[in-house]
């Protein structure tokens, strides 16, 4: 619970959390916010923003606002889904390698290092191209299965550090089973690293999904921020000047990315207190304020003394 407390006390984290929360809420409650169906033609093509269509319409006459809301459902689900897969794999592989060591560590570590040096985006593109027009779920799956290596490496090195601590050795001497030591003794000490890795993975997954779909590797019938951009590009909305269709998905992607990044920055500060520059500053301000107050108090007593 202390972790969540720290998160809400940090201004950057709170701000990031609000942004991300806002977009999650509006996409979950999309049907209550807009009356239009994102997949149906509801008006003429390329209508500029108006009262009826807050963010205008696409070339196909679809409501951009509705598409952005419903697209958020899929895009955010893919982001968080892929993030969960990445973190689950990273934690499982990282802890196993770090805790058991020896041959297991050797094999898993070289697997991580190989995954790290094979370029991700091209690999994903090749995978997606061979599978064919990939649905959002498959995108989440392939992003998850190819991007765990970095997290696993971080978890592994942290596990190595924790494993040497006395409380772990004590648990081993007491004869606790390995699974219990891993889950009860080691895992809680990795929470901040896992949190940072999860947020990073979600950012990466949302960006990558948008990129893959923008390039035309996704399923064009699904409504996501990426396919919105793909259709925007295909109908040359940029060259017509249909700014509403160009900027709606882009602003949303940028905002969600920014929110998550702020959250990550804060998690970094929590994990590494040295980086928390303003905390020290706050203390310094407190101390100077205290000194000033003391000086003022002394002055008044001195004055009082002089007066009496």
């Amino acid at each position: 619970m202390g972790f969540i407390n720290l998160l809400t006390r940090n201004k950057k984290a709170l701000f990031g959390l609000c942004i991300v929360g806002f977009f999650v809420v509006i996409s979950v409650f999309a049907p209550f916010i807009t009356q239009y169906d994102a997949k149906k033609r509801v008006t003429k093509s390329h209508v500029p923003p108006s009262e009826e269509h807050v963010l205008g319409s696409t070339r196909m006459g679809r409501d951009v606002f509705a598409q952005t809301l419903y697209g958020g459902r899929v895009s955010l689900a893919v982001g968080f889904g892929a993030g969960i897969i990445v973190v689950a794999m990273a934690v499982a592989i990282g802890i196993t390698a770090g805790y058991f060591g020896g041959l297991i560590d050797e094999v898993l570590s070289s697997l991580m290092n190989i995954m790290l040096v094979i370029p991700q985006l091209p690999l994903l593109m090749v995978l997606a191209a061979f599978i064919g027009e990939v649905s959002p779920m498959v995108i989440a799956l392939i992003i998850g299965l190819t991007s765990w290596a970095w997290g696993a490496r971080v978890v592994r090195s942290q596990t190595l550090a924790v494993r040497e601590k006395e409380f772990v050795v004590a648990a081993q001497v007491l004869g606790e089973p390995s699974w219990r030591i891993i889950l009860i003794e080691i895992l809680p000490n990795l929470v901040s690293i896992i949190g940072a890795s999860f947020i990073g993975s979600v950012i990466y997954a949302i960006m990558t999904q948008a990129t893959l779909e923008f390039l035309g590797l996704g399923d064009p019938t699904s409504v996501t921020w990426g396919t919105q951009l793909f259709n925007m590009q295909k109908t040359s909305a940029i060259h017509i000047g249909a700014y509403w269709e160009v900027f709606s998905p882009i602003v949303v992607i940028a905002c969600v990315g920014a929110g998550l990044a702020l959250l990550n920055f804060a998690v970094d500060e929590i994990a590494n207190p040295q980086l928390r520059s303003h905390v020290g500053l706050k203390r310094w301000k407190q101390i100077t304020a205290q000194k000033e107050a003391e000086a003022a108090a002394q002055e008044t007593t001195a004055q009082q003394g002089a007066a009496s």
């Binding site: 040096v117 094979i118 090749v126 061979f130 960006m207 990129t211 390039l215 940029i238 992607i253």
Partner: protein
């Protein structure tokens, strides 16, 4: 020396893994690889189909196919492109390679220079105004996809204000001539947009780690010692702090250069720039499988080469590793 040799063996292993992926991926699809390509909407002439079946050697046992493929890879026989009128894949890639290298290489080196410098300043004045704006901002920039910057720059500077060209690496009317100033000016003008987009995304990637390394170092005793000796702030900041904090950043630069080939993909597609990214994009749209596979290989090789360079640089820059002490 042992360290470098071990890394070399590792990178060779990683390369083989990429080759294996490239080999098995098309063969894991239902039917034979040629059928899979046809089912995906690839357009071939009857002659090309016959040729493809021959290249894939679908009648031979799998291990034999694998060794044939391995031999082809090492002799750069990557097959023929169907989209680029049957040109050899290696030739298509070689033509596009220079443009991508120019674009991303320039952007990456600029991002390193600016990012590292600003990171040093942010760390020195940590908690100050510059630090509390620049550091979160660069993190946000880093989390924004190239896709976003590419489209925003193209829409604003390219289409709305018409300041930069929106397509190609140089005007198609011009004949490429790298000695004429006119032509070079044209190339530079076309590169401004894409380079800016790649630069701005990478900036944070250099600024934030530099800042964090530097902050950790500034608490060390020798920094206090330097200040106590009465050295100027600049001297302590650069010779005492930055000299040591920059180590990880230099290797990060080398690794970032490894991404050079794959890194500009989206920006190239948005600006219709004729580098490797556009080639890959066209290959995918037209289901030009051998070209796609060739791309993955060349990007992997580049990545491995620069990772290796990073290792070598590390040994060179960090005296502790050079002496081979543990």
């Amino acid at each position: 020396m042992g360290f470098i040799l071990r890394r070399l063996v590792f990178y060779f292993g990683a390369f083989l893994v990429a080759v294996v992926i490239n080999f098995f991926l098309p063969r894991m699809m239902p039917g034979d690889p040629v059928d899979a390509m046809l089912a995906q909407g690839a357009r071939f002439t009857a002659e090309q189909i016959a040729n493809l079946r021959l290249t894939f050697g679908v009648d031979q046992p799998l291990y034999q196919q694998f060794f044939t493929y391995l031999g082809d890879v090492f002799t750069l026989e990557l097959g023929h492109s169907t989209f680029f009128s049957n040109m050899p894949v290696s030739e298509v890639l070689a033509n596009a390679f220079g443009w991508t290298l120019f674009l991303t290489g320039t952007a990456t080196i600029l991002a390193f220079m600016f990012g590292a410098t600003l990171g040093i300043v942010a760390a020195w004045y940590r908690g100050g105004k510059f630090d509390s704006i620049a550091s979160p901002l660069s993190l946000v920039l880093q989390a924004t996809p190239q896709l976003v910057f590419g489209i925003v720059v193209l829409f604003s500077l390219g289409v709305t204000w018409d300041l930069i060209p929106i397509s190609y690496a140089y005007d198609p009317e011009l004949t490429p001539d790298f000695t004429s100033w006119e032509f070079l000016k044209n190339v530079l003008l076309h590169a401004v947009g894409p380079i800016f987009c790649i630069f701005i995304v990478q900036l944070g990637g250099f600024l934030v780690p530099m800042r964090n390394n530097m902050i950790n170092l500034l608490n060390e005793d020798y920094i206090t010692m330097g200040k106590a000796k009465g050295l100027s702030n600049i001297r302590v900041m650069l010779n005492y702090g930055a000299r040591n904090a920059i180590l990880p950043s230099v290797t990060a630069l080398s690794m970032a250069l490894g991404f050079v080939v794959g890194g500009a993909l989206v920006v190239e597609v948005i600006f219709n720039y004729q580098g490797l990214g556009s080639v890959l994009f066209n290959a995918i749209v037209n289901r030009d499988y051998q070209l796609i596979q060739g791309q993955l290989l060349i990007m992997t090789v580049f990545m491995l080469a620069f990772n290796f360079l990073a290792d070598v640089l590390y040994v060179f820059l960090d005296p502790r590793l050079r002496k081979g002490g543990k």
